[in-house]
Symmetry: C2
Subunit: 137 residues, 2 copies
């Protein structure tokens, strides 16, 4: 059984053409993807709505996760652990390259804890680092 098929089945998703191809696209690309990347760069011609719904279903099942950005663009990423073992959402730091604007999951860098002022109860923390990635130096 193909890898993509396995991932979909494991996550109780019907194995459809678009889902398989989009999942494959995630597996092939190193960094995070935006909706537009998938629409344009897959080579395929999915309906916009299909792409949205596919991404939604992946997020719901925890296969991909969202990455916050300042510029109002949603990025989705498939984490190493997610696609291999399931729902390992220890939250890691994300890196966005100012040069090539690639977005990368630093799976091994965990978001540090911070001391909040009185009254605030933390639940979840996200951290995004901008800078220059290895490929651009």
């Amino acid at each position: 059984m193909k890898q993509v098929e396995e991932i979909l089945k494991r996550n109780h998703l019907s194995v459809t053409d678009s889902r398989q191809k989009i999942m494959q696209f995630f597996l092939n690309s190193k960094g995070a993807l935006a909706h537009a990347d998938i629409e344009k760069k897959t080579g395929e011609n999915f309906d916009r709505v299909t792409v949205y719904r596919t991404l939604q279903s992946f997020v719901e099942k925890g296969i991909i996760h969202l990455i916050p950005t300042k510029d109002n663009s949603i990025k989705y990423a498939l984490c190493k652990d997610d696609c291999e073992a399931g729902h390992h959402h220890d939250n890691h730091v994300h890196f966005i390259c100012d040069e090539c604007s690639k977005t990368i999951c630093l799976d091994d860098v965990t978001v540090p804890q911070v001391k909040l002022p009185k009254g605030f109860t933390p639940q979840h923390a996200e951290m995004v680092v901008n800078g220059i990635c290895g490929d651009c130096k």
Copy 2:
């Protein structure tokens, strides 16, 4: 001279009606604001374009700053230091309440440094903490 007028002049911006009122709205509200908040909750009836351009000019001058969010909504915030002393962009942590979804600048909590893998050169880091704020407990 009024406070808002002073802030605008100090930042080399013409003192116009909309800018004054939007700035005042920022000063009055505790948390961060989205474009929609300003359009709807000011009571005023600014043109959508005017609001966009006003916010843009504020961002350019460093009077307000953007806060990254996962859900593709841009939030703008006026920091204590910014409006008093100028461009104090030491980066602080942001807090988003899961209950009331208010977004707050934790001016006194600085984003901690993290050790990145080889090859990555950090330039700037952002951190957003989700949880419950003091008002919602």
